[in-house]
Symmetry: C2
Subunit: 421 residues, 2 copies
């Protein structure tokens, strides 16, 4: 269907099928708009559960949905699979890696973030981060291969390095990864190996700041640390990684030999600021006005992890609910603009609280003055996440995988695939 | 656990965690035996459903199980992850790609088969076959990318090539692939694309012989062909592929431009015959005696697709039930030998019938004089396959994926991952 045939609707192009981009499209239903969604991947990814793919609990297809399918009933939305390499602002078009440029009247950039190594990009091959589906399967492969190689290794020092897992960064992702790897080593795998004792695996969680899960109040943070220690995780706070290599990590002057390092220490925005030649903050996020558009170009919205946004004087955090709120808000701004109505009040972020899990039985939740921990928090966490998944099929499938893993203690997706790493 | 500590049990090494290898281990319980299972992969694969991963119906983890987990309660079994590169028969040990050789008293080789290009191995990059989990995700990626690229392609000839899918070989795998791709193009995807009409995709099934599914009786074969045509598959029998390239296929003198070719035309055995320097048939299968051992070495069994076996004067087919029967039989031979009892009668293959599905609603079953077709056969096929899956979790997960796909018509695993191809 060529939209030009029916008399030039307003052409909206959205880059990125993450939480912000999808919510924007859901909220923008307007008779005179034609939407093009562009993404490098064919799937929307439920990033909050990505760590469960990396730690063999969930299958890839349980947390990813073909984007095109999500909008099959929206004839005003077309999906294009391709990689943006630049933006021609004067010509109002996207430059693509392959094929023709894509023109726009309004552009929405919601390309997310990627892991950042703070000037040490050469660490990436040794300390992969967790952002895409492929990252999760690569980390899963590395974890599982470590145990397999240890089983065949005869040199005790090499065996010990294979059984040492280092997670850098004790935010929610780092804590969740450390907890799940500890459960895997200490509870799921011991029965299955004959030569090694997987319970002797060391899982180190290294944090530069003074406490884990710094976004939570100190009491919940302490609880999380204690829960991690109970699971067998060694938590090192106020510790800075000074080197990552094929041999292991270095913390200040101490070298720790290890085969698996996972980077969960920081993110930086996608290169949108460079495409736009726009002002960015230190994390590379594009600085936008309170209506989420560029200061010098109201045709361009920047949303989610790609944008540096403040609300009531405070920076808006890089969380899925914040991205969704921005998507809905930008759609409202554009709808009003197209209808010739005055703009809405500035973007106002409503914080819905913080959640994090530690292993299979504990979680912490903070919502205003409400603080929950232990198994009630774990159940609430699980129900909330299943609720936010897309579609009945996935909800059932994830609920089934979790129930099985919870009751039987067996992880279902322990596959080593693509042995190229 | 080192078995030598408890007084030198008989050391059995099994190469290959397919149907034959697993069944052998299940059937070989003997107080004085220590079993080592060696495989290049960490998972057992339910190959009969691999085509459903390639065609986006099932997720990888639904048809693959970590081998080590299957034998967690068998303390007499150890699993080693590694690649065999040769066999030192004089020294009675396996030579490994990495690490120490592995010694054996009895060796069981069940390394399966791989696709064969009959002297045209250079076709493989253009016409991948379907044997491993990675093959399935690679073919899935190729199929999905063809539609995605066609949506963005402006040249009508290139677009047509992207929407042409050629499957070479009309055995069960070829028929199942053709049927599922036709369903995908004609039923699942049309609503989701805006520029192309996926119903115009051409799906060609090319067969060198005079009919599809030649293992079945002519009437069922005719029924299958008619069912394929109804689904929109073009069936070309008595047609020989003379070239596969990046541009497409050539059938005798006719060139057909296409982006996706899938090879389902033939298999050859794994290189076990070379490792053993043993006699092999034309498909590379090791010729064994009626007790499934080598003519000149009763310490070595060869099973499943790797072996050339006859039963009542007829060659045993390369099917999962045949592999399982051979595994169970070899275990019996070895048990009796260890106990000093006389050997059992020669291997006798009991044919359990042939099954094949065509798309989501039809199947054919032949069991002796019983011939079933249409939806009763489809349901029986489904129930049989769920029954043969391993473990409650997988049975539920696959049943749920199928039910969903059947009722809602939506495939759940439409993910393009690892875009390296």
């Amino acid at each position: 269907m060529n939209h030009d045939d029916k008399g030039a609707p307003h052409k909206v192009v959205v880059i990125g099928a993450g939480f912000a981009g999808l919510q924007f499209i859901h909220a923008l239903k307007h008779p005179n708009v034609a939407i093009t969604l562009v993404d490098r991947r064919n799937h929307h990814l439920f990033q909050p559960l990505l760590y469960q793919v990396a730690t063999t609990v969930l299958a890839t297809s349980e947390i990813a949905w073909p984007v095109r399918h999500l909008f099959r009933d929206r004839k005003d939305v077309e999906t294009l699979f391709g990689e943006v390499v630049g933006i021609d602002r004067a010509g109002r078009r996207l430059l693509m890696k392959e094929g023709e440029p894509i023109g726009y009247d309004t552009l929405v950039i919601a390309t997310g973030s990627r892991h950042a190594y703070f000037g040490n990009d050469h660490w990436e091959p040794f300390a992969p981060g967790l952002k895409r589906l492929e990252d999760a399967t690569a980390i899963r492969r590395r974890i599982l291969l470590s145990f397999e190689k240890a089983e065949r290794e005869t040199d005790p020092a090499l065996r010990e390095a294979l059984l040492t897992f280092v997670i850098v960064g004790a935010g929610p992702t780092g804590v969740e990864l450390a907890g799940m790897i500890a459960e895997l080593a200490h509870h799921t795998l011991p029965e299955e190996f004959r030569r090694i004792d997987t319970r002797k695996a060391r899982i180190l969680l290294i944090e530069g700041g003074p406490r884990v899960l710094a976004a939570f109040s100190p009491s919940l943070s302490d609880y999380a640390k204690a829960a991690l220690v109970r699971l067998g995780v060694e938590v090192l706070t106020d510790s800075r990684v000074t080197e990552c290599s094929a041999e292991g990590v270095r913390i200040s002057d101490t070298a720790i030999a290890c085969h698996t390092i996972i980077w969960a220490a920081g993110v930086e925005a996608s290169p949108a600021a460079k495409w736009l030649d726009a002002d960015a903050d230190r994390a590379g996020r594009v600085i936008v006005r309170t209506d989420l558009t560029l200061a010098d170009d109201e045709r361009i919205f920047v949303l989610g992890d790609t944008a540096s946004v403040t609300s009531q004087g405070k920076p808006v955090p890089g969380l899925a609910p914040a991205a969704k709120q921005q998507g809905a808000y930008a759609a409202k701004v554009l709808r009003r603009r197209l209808d010739g109505r005055p703009p809405p009040p500035p973007f106002h972020y409503r914080h819905q609280g913080n959640l994090a899990t530690i292993g299979r039985h504990a979680a912490i939740i903070e919502h205003g003055k409400l603080r929950l921990r232990g198994w009630p928090a774990w159940w609430l966490w699980g129900i909330a996440h299943i609720y936010f998944l897309i579609g009945t099929r996935s909800r059932f499938a994830v609920a089934w995988s979790w129930l099985w893993s919870y009751l039987v203690g067996v992880h279902s997706a322990r596959l080593i695939t693509h042995r190229k790493t």
